[in-house]
Amino acid sequence: MTDPISQRGPVSRRDVFRYGLGASALIALGPLLPVTSGATTTTARKGGSLAQRSHATPTRGGTLKFARSVAPTTLDPANTIIAGDIYTLDKIFEPLYVTSPKGQLTPWLATGYKASTNNKTLTFSLRPGVKFSDGSPLTAADVVFSINRARKDSAGPLSFLDYAITSLEAKGTSTVVVQLSTPWAPIISDISVFANSIIPANFGGKTEAEFFKSPVGTGPFTLSSFTPDATSLTLKANKHYWQAGKPYLDSVEFLYVDNDNQRVLQIEGGQVNIIDTVPPAEVASLKGNSGVVLEQFPAWEVDLLVLNEKLPQFADRHVRRAITYAINRPALVHAANFGTGEPGGSFFPPSLEYYSAKTPVLEYSLSKAKAELAQSKYPKGFATKILVDSGNQKFVTFAQIIKSQLQPLGIDVTITGLDHSAFESTFQKFDYEMFIDYAINDISDPDEMASFELNFKDGGSSSYWSSYNNPAVTALVNSAEAEFNPTKRAALYAQIQSMVAEDAPFVPLDYPPYIYATSKSVQGFAVNPGGAYRLEDVWLT
């Protein structure tokens, strides 16, 4: 659930994937996927299968050329939400925990933690032998400095994630004690966010500006130089990296190629090894290319049709339910995603922890839609508008199909397209009737998505700008935040998903995966459901 814009400037993590959505494999496997699945789908692979490739012995050396749709503007982890920044700086800096490609929290610079009985004090033990790229050792003081810096920076876009932390204290060189204001179940997820990455205390004696020009971290790679508007950025292997023998690559060259078509041509022409954000329209042709491997990874992401409850027609629960029934989501996904992608059901994506497959989804049924509308104050329908980001072809197609699907109800839709920046500021001023956008979870814990989309008062977005306000749902969201028992938490989130499906404040349209294309020489590449990829395990044949 981060932010905006395309092209070479600031682009949110979501924007990286705006056009790269859809997975035919997921359509077939969707109902079979386990609740917390983050399993890589590999049906699109040609030639060497994942299994074959993973069993090969890693080869050392080489430069990975990676064409991405976004460029970095800053490498300060605490002060960015932009995809180009995040997926560059997370190769240089590391947090105490990370999320694995399967979506699981994994101890990283910490080896583990102990919680007090009241769950308000957490004691982290740091991994022994970790060094920064300048050779100096990682200490507890560095951890305290870094997380304090991130949480106290009110302008930091993700500093709200640290809100439950009241203090941090270094005990010796390898223990950190964290005090919480309240028992807070998502805390380890929050600690794992890139904004809480560890940098040397007091910037290793440099000024802040100097430090981020030539940053020092514990990550697998270091930076040779950084020019904010350059077209490429090169990372070199960190000789002091704590995972012995890694990274396998000598260097990584990130190239900024914002044009979708150029990226596809560059992988087809063999000019680069990996491209991100493969447009769904190109999936079929890339599958037919024997030199290219297409990779799809499940995402903590859902595309939503949001209904403005400040308007009387959408404040009417029957109208919202009628619209949900009337939208044929499998048809939508088939038409707009070129056969890739999974139709929406619950507002939690299936890859997210505590997703409930038993959610009573209002499946497509025109007769139920008509019956529902007949019970509303608008039995004969009404005229309304859908606002879309005109640069997002998939959402424009979604809007056109939804317009035709609402026609039988007498709901007459006009589509309004605005460029991304204008689109976003318009719906955030509630100056819309319906809009289509995507929501992602930044961390492995579903609380972020639940509170951002459902907690009208404190969630930060008036329930994703829908103004949906159900106090019973908000109370459940708050209870889940303080619940440490996984079974009880699962029950709470199942109940929340069920109530939201019945209330229909927004229509979950589809669950798009991340789509990457690599050359056949690339081994060991994986993306976690948050969209992050670690490169210390990647090698070239």
């Binding site: 932010d3 400037g9 190629v257 041509l265 022409g269 000019q271 920046s421 500021s425």
Partner: protein
């Protein structure tokens, strides 16, 4: 002559001033905010307001305009919101690439135009003429981005002769990466140039001094190259000069298709990010270069043809 140049330069300043006023107004009427782009959806109203204040966007539109124009008269194009570096630095880093692209595209346009126009003119109403005129109609209707993609598919993806996109290293790599973009940009103006030059050449072919040359028994190739083409240079230069403005505009698309990090792509990304100082800076630089190129064209035409009087 000096008076003429002074007068033209003065009017150029007025044109650039007009361009900056219009750009400023259009940009500020458009909804969207760089602050929101930078801070993300979780940004609070307070943090957005703080950033707007730091950039001076909380002041009234007229006072923002006065501040902007006075900075401009001091040669200051402002600082990019997104990259936090001076706009002039961003433009300086990219202007060379765009200038090379426009230069090479102009060269490619001339190399394609002159022979085609000469053949069409000398074979008036014959098969070759019809074929060339047919090609120009096709060329006029063809979008340049599509032509660029076709060139990439053939020469880069299949034949591996030239890079798909981006800028290569070293002088050779640099030139190599500009070949396809230059041809793509040139194709946008070649049809117009061919048609104009063809008409110019036909007029010259019918002129009395050409008839005299032929009557003297001079061979046809000599007549075409030495007499007709020489006289046709002036209209070509004039048409080329006028069309360079179009060429500069088309770099926005061509740079996108070939992933070139020039002024065109900077302009596009800055518009989408609402990075006002950069949009204004690039627009002024592009506007000024169009005006200057037109002036240079007039001066060159006057130099080539003494009959042209500059007033």
């Amino acid at each position: 002559m000096t008076r003429y140049i002074t007068w033209r330069l003065a009017s150029a300043v007025l044109v650039v001033f007009g361009v900056s006023v219009v750009t400023f107004l259009f940009l500020h009427l458009e909804p969207g905010s760089a602050a929101r782009s930078l801070l993300g959806e979780h940004a609070t109203a307070r943090s957005i307001a703080a950033l707007q204040k730091r950039w001076g966007l909380n002041a009234s539109l007229p006072s923002q305009f006065v501040r902007y124009m006075s900075a401009l008269f001091h040669g200051n194009l402002g600082t990019s919101y997104i990259y936090q570096v001076p706009t002039s630095q961003l433009i300086g880093a990219r202007i060379g690439l765009t200038a090379s692209l426009v230069g090479l595209a102009s060269l490619a346009a001339v190399v394609m135009t002159v022979p085609l126009a000469a053949i069409a003119a000398s074979r008036q109403d014959k098969v070759a003429d019809h074929a060339i005129r047919g090609f120009t109609v096709f060329g006029l209707g063809m979008p340049s981005f599509w032509f660029g993609i076709i060139l990439i598919e053939i020469f880069s993806v299949h034949l591996h002769l030239l890079p798909v996109g981006g800028v290569g290293s070293g002088f050779g790599g640099y030139l190599e990466s500009l070949i396809l973009p230059a041809i793509t940009a040139a194709i946008g103006i070649v049809p117009i140039l061919v048609r104009s030059l063809r008409v110019g050449m036909i007029e010259i072919l019918d002129a009395e001094f050409v008839a005299t040359a032929r009557a003297k028994g001079l061979k046809e190739p000599f007549v075409l190259i030495s007499i007709v083409a020489r006289n046709a240079v002036v209209p070509t230069v004039t048409f080329l000069g006028l069309n360079i403005a179009y060429l500069i505009g088309s770099t926005v698309i061509v740079e996108q298709v070939f992933n070139l990090n020039g002024l065109g792509s900077l302009l596009l990304s800055s518009i989408l990010n609402r990075d006002f100082p950069v949009v204004q800076g690039v627009t002024i630089v592009l506007g000024a270069s169009v005006v200057l190129i037109n002036l240079v064209t007039d001066l060159v035409a006057a130099r080539l043809d003494p009959r042209i009087r500059l007033r």
